[in-house]
């Protein structure tokens, strides 16, 4: 069965999307963050979900995807948004978590371990002797923490 999108279209589109960075945290791609929910064949569309309802990055992300698809000759592939099921940080890939940590952002815990009240490890020195400064940080998805071992403040990607 051949697709009007050409052979291996799904892998090729996913490859394009894997190179679209998140505008707020450019170290990770939108695929790493779990924002890409599906690639539909008919009618062809990339389905994405917003992280937070009011996140201004969502429009930027849509624009970036459009541009990347156009450049890769996928001009007929649309970009659609869905709210259901709601995005969760559990969809951030292991690669994405490691990239966040290397970028200086403590990755979110899996929701299954949330109730254990485990403190995030400092992304710089690895200490778990850390403290919340503010529940809200520089973007909707992050909280502000400090490390009591190395004294550095850091962003913590909130479990959501």
């Amino acid at each position: 069965m051949s697709s009007p999108l050409g052979t291996g279209w799904r892998d090729r589109i996913m490859h394009v999307l894997a190179n679209v960075p998140d505008p707020e945290v450019p170290a990770v791609s939108i695929v790493d963050l779990g924002i890409v929910r599906d690639v539909r064949e008919n009618p062809p569309a990339v389905i994405i979900t917003p992280t937070y309802t009011g996140c201004p990055a969502t429009d930027v992300i849509k624009g970036s995807i459009r541009q990347a698809l156009d450049l890769a000759d996928f001009r007929d592939v649309g970009v659609e948004t869905t709210l259901t099921p709601p995005w969760t940080t559990d969809w951030i890939s292991d690669t994405g978590r490691e990239k966040l940590r290397a970028y200086g952002i403590a990755p979110p815990p899996h929701s299954s371990t949330l109730r254990a009240k485990q403190l995030p490890a400092c992304p710089r020195c690895g200490s778990t002797n850390t403290q919340e400064i503010s529940r809200f940080g520089s973007t909707p998805c992050k909280a502000l923490w400090r490390c009591l071992s190395c004294a550095e403040p850091f962003d913590h990607f909130k479990c959501h």
């Binding site: 917003p50 937070y52 309802t53 009011g54 996140c55 201004p56 709210l83 259901t84 099921p85 709601p86 995005w87 969760t88 400064i133 503010s134 529940r135 809200f136 940080g137 520089s138 909707p140 502000l144 909130k158 959501h160």
Partner: protein
């Protein structure tokens, strides 16, 4: 006025339209109020927190008012409903349009609103209206944070210094009159509840009171019977504060129709 039989969640449903306006306007007006703190909050972290809560509320308002516009079927979208409606057409509760006052007053308003909104949206996430259920499930994850955050501030200020305690008490003293309206059920709420679209607001009151008691005990604050309620927001009978808020919020799109970034 619509009857229960017309509220089946289909398009051009006046009861559903009005109900969505109530939800969307609550979020929109509170977002605008909170935005007034931007650059003025007591600490940079608090400034960021309030702006983030405002942003979440704008997100909710956009989803709810866009949907309201589709239900109305007259070609109005969320922006049109937000910027080109007069005060009498707004359906928000009186609580959210109350002035910020000091930080204690703002936190009193936030705590009362978010605590109620959390209970309501837990029910809305189970709505028979799939679109509304999706919006509510999404928003609920953010609301949980707002409710926890504002409760922490009520405890911190209430159980803080004599001055912070007095300000927290005064903040709540301003807001108590507007609490009953959050749980008011009129013919629109009844029709919506009957259709399984939303829980009846009065069914949330016991859980709300329990939450209030828990927070006030932790904050060592006294809880007295509520003063006589002021109602009317859901019918468009607003305080003078809303007009001033809308003047600031709506000025640009009205003075420069069609303006874009």
């Amino acid at each position: 006025m619509t009857t229960a039989s017309s509220s089946t969640g289909h398009r051009s449903d006046p009861a559903l339209f009005d109900y969505l306006l109530r939800l969307g306007d609550d979020s929109l007006i509170l977002a605008q109020r909170l935005s007034e703190w931007c650059g003025h909050a007591p600490m940079i972290e608090v400034d960021l927190s309030i702006s983030n809560v405002a942003l979440d509320l704008v997100g909710q308002a956009t989803l709810l008012l866009d949907y309201a516009g589709e239900v109305e079927g007259k070609g109005r979208d969320g922006d049109k409903l937000a910027f080109h409606r007069d005060a009498l057409r707004f359906r928000n509760c009186l609580l959210v349009e109350q002035p910020n006052g000091d930080f204690g007053q703002t936190m009193a308003r936030q705590y009362l609103f978010s605590t109620c909104q959390r209970l309501l949206f837990r029910g809305l996430a189970q709505s028979t209206d799939a679109r509304l259920a999706g919006i509510a499930a999404k928003a609920l994850k953010e609301i949980e944070y707002h409710a926890d955050w504002s409760a922490e501030w009520v405890v911190r200020l209430g159980d803080g210094t004599p001055e912070s305690r007095e300000r927290m008490i005064n903040g709540f003293a301003w807001m108590w009159r507007f609490v009953d309206e959050l749980f008011q059920v009129d013919e629109i709420d009844a029709a919506i509840a009957k259709a399984g679209i939303a829980p009846a607001r009065d069914s949330l009151r016991a859980a709300f009171n329990a939450e209030l008691k828990k927070t006030f005990e932790a904050a060592t604050l006294p809880l007295a019977p509520l003063p006589a309620a002021i109602l009317g927001g859901r019918k468009g009978h607003h305080s003078e504060h809303l007009g001033h808020l809308l003047a600031a919020m709506q000025f640009l799109p009205r003075a420069y129709p069609g303006a874009t970034w």
